[in-house]
Amino acid sequence: MKICTKYHGEREYEEKDIIIFNKGLPGFEYLKKFILFPVEENEVFSILHSIEDDKIGFVVISPYYVMEDYEVDIDDEKIKELNITVSEDALVLNTVTLNSEIKDITANLQAPIIINIKDKIGEQIILSDDKYKIKYPLFREWKYVSNF
């Protein structure tokens, strides 16, 4: 199966790669099927892309690249809902909001996306405490090198 994405070219995928978001994502509650693939030019980032809308894809990053001690407290009910039985099955990703100014590129640490990588089920959880920011600057922890 194939999608022609707006910003990321054509992607091939199989039925088994599809991750189901039963609740969609805030702002995109109607989109339930996504695939995940790494960004070719920069393996730190991945794209979580809708297979139902070729214009909707999120740049995502593992939060531990952004903040070493990032901690997500998910209650047992949610873990059960996502069918996660062992921690190895859980993948935590956060959306990245890009900007033409690299210093203004941010990650949403307040609303992590939790994916059960074994059963291919995902959900974006909004953490109710204000420990983490919705717009957390990425570049703070990195030194970046421009290609220009």
Binding site: Y7, P26, D75, T97, I126, I134, F148
Partner: protein
Amino acid sequence: MLVISRKKGESLLIGDDIAITIVGINDNSVRISISAPKSVTILREELYKQVKEENIKATNFDSSILKTIKK
């Protein structure tokens, strides 16, 4: 849409397993106690809106800029 008045100390029952009680009333704010099953998500609305807006913003950008960032 139900609009209802409650005095301090009074409650509302929603469905079979949600209860909302007005715990305190100030000039500008109301203190609310909510009892609900763990499976029910309770969120401040503005927080949901902020995440929604951030998601929409996040889908609106050409990611080719990622080529210029190296760790």
